[in-house]
């Protein structure tokens, strides 16, 4: 086939936006693979503070996989929404694996002070966030979704509002309460 590399993903994305659930199944592994490769490349580079911007990776994946001339803002939001989920999974799986290897270490109470740079504690934050999000999702799935979309996917408030079919004000309200609850939950564990 002479298909351009971005044709497949772009087409699937357009189909997702038309309500085709089957297209999501096909889209997932492609985005997953791209994010995985981008993350690996990014991590090989020198990063004095060991941090990564998941939103930057998602954005990069989007530029590489999607033909922007064919999609609208809604398609774009769908991509980022799916990618956010994948990004979360990739990073959390990695953190859990890394921390499992450090078995026997004493996990100190989590601090959210930027000066702390011990590998295990910092990886532990991501795991704690993931656990807290799962707990939140049990009684408020909407808030957990919003956090995921914005934190891992980099969606703006407006984009998040569009994709969830609510107003930006609603998103802001959800966000501020979710953030408060997550902070407490992460401190407790």
């Amino acid at each position: 086939m002479n298909a351009h590399p971005t044709d497949n993903v772009t087409q699937l994305l357009l189909e997702v936006s038309k309500g085709d659930q089957g297209a999501v199944d096909l889209l997932l592994p492609v985005i997953y693979d791209e994010l995985r490769k981008l993350a690996a490349n990014y991590l090989r580079r020198e990063r004095p503070d060991h941090t990564l911007q998941p939103t930057a990776l998602v954005h990069e994946a989007y530029l590489r996989l999607v033909d922007q001339t064919r999609v609208n803002w809604q398609n774009r939001a769908h991509f980022f929404g799916v990618a956010a989920q994948i990004m979360r999974r990739l990073l959390v799986d990695h953190a859990r694996k890394h921390n499992a290897e450090k078995r026997g270490q004493d996990f100190q109470k989590l601090s959210l002070d930027e000066n702390i740079d011990r590998a295990v504690e910092r990886s532990g934050e991501l795991i704690a966030l993931d656990d807290a999000l799962k707990a939140l999702a049990v009684f408020d799935e909407q808030k957990a979704r919003i956090i995921e979309l914005r934190y891992f996917g980099g969606l703006s408030i407006e984009e998040t509002a569009d994709i969830l079919n609510v107003t930006p004000t609603t998103i802001k309200r959800h966000w501020r309460m979710a953030k408060a609850w997550l902070y407490g939950e992460m401190q407790r564990n």
Binding site: Q21, D33, Q53, I86, E101, S123
Partner: protein, 249 residues
Amino acid sequence: MTPERWRQVEEIFQAAIDLQPEERTPYVCKACGDDTKLRRDVETLLLQHDSAGDLLEKPVYVAETDLSSFQSLPVWEEETDPMIGRRLGTYQIEREIGRGGMGAVYEAVRADNEFNRRVAIKLVKRGMDTDFILRRFRKERQILAALDHPHIAGLLDGGTTDDGLPYFVMEFIAGQPIYTYCDSRKLTVAERLKLFRAICDAVHYAHQKQVVHRDIKPSNVLVTSEGIPKLLDFGIQTFESRSGRRYHT
């Protein structure tokens, strides 16, 4: 934390945050009344709101040591739902079509395959079978049983699984959300209104039966390929597709 309690906390929290700091405590006291636990929950949350700082605003820390999880990954694995492939009565569950806080909705087919009839089965999630949720679930089933209308997705059957989880079986609607249906076919205003009127009729019918939907929105109205609109989801919890397996469009 139950969804109901959370909603109570939210109502007061959101209102309190919008007040001046000195107005918050009196407001919270008044709003909570005798419920000291509620007041504690709200006050704790308000404190946490003020302390949260730049949580969620910093970039993610990723340990550099081991890149193997980023290099050699198996294909994206879906969390296998034990319900997929299971038999429930005369139906065989094929795939998940939605998920909410209380449980999930699956697409299923008649196991005898003679009629190849597709249904949607709504099932309480294991671990969510508290009295509170079971009562809500049974109530939803009662509501659905009382509704019989051409534009409301109808209840067909119900039961309990071997492990005691209640479920009910509904008409499966293969269709598009109403806005997609209308836009993709470039329907005229008159044609759109015709669909709208049909749903109004359904809502009116439900109201006459003392049932309020409470979550009518375009994604809860599917239109079949024959052009018949159907109102879904009278559950108080909405069932949206969960991203990862099925993305909510």
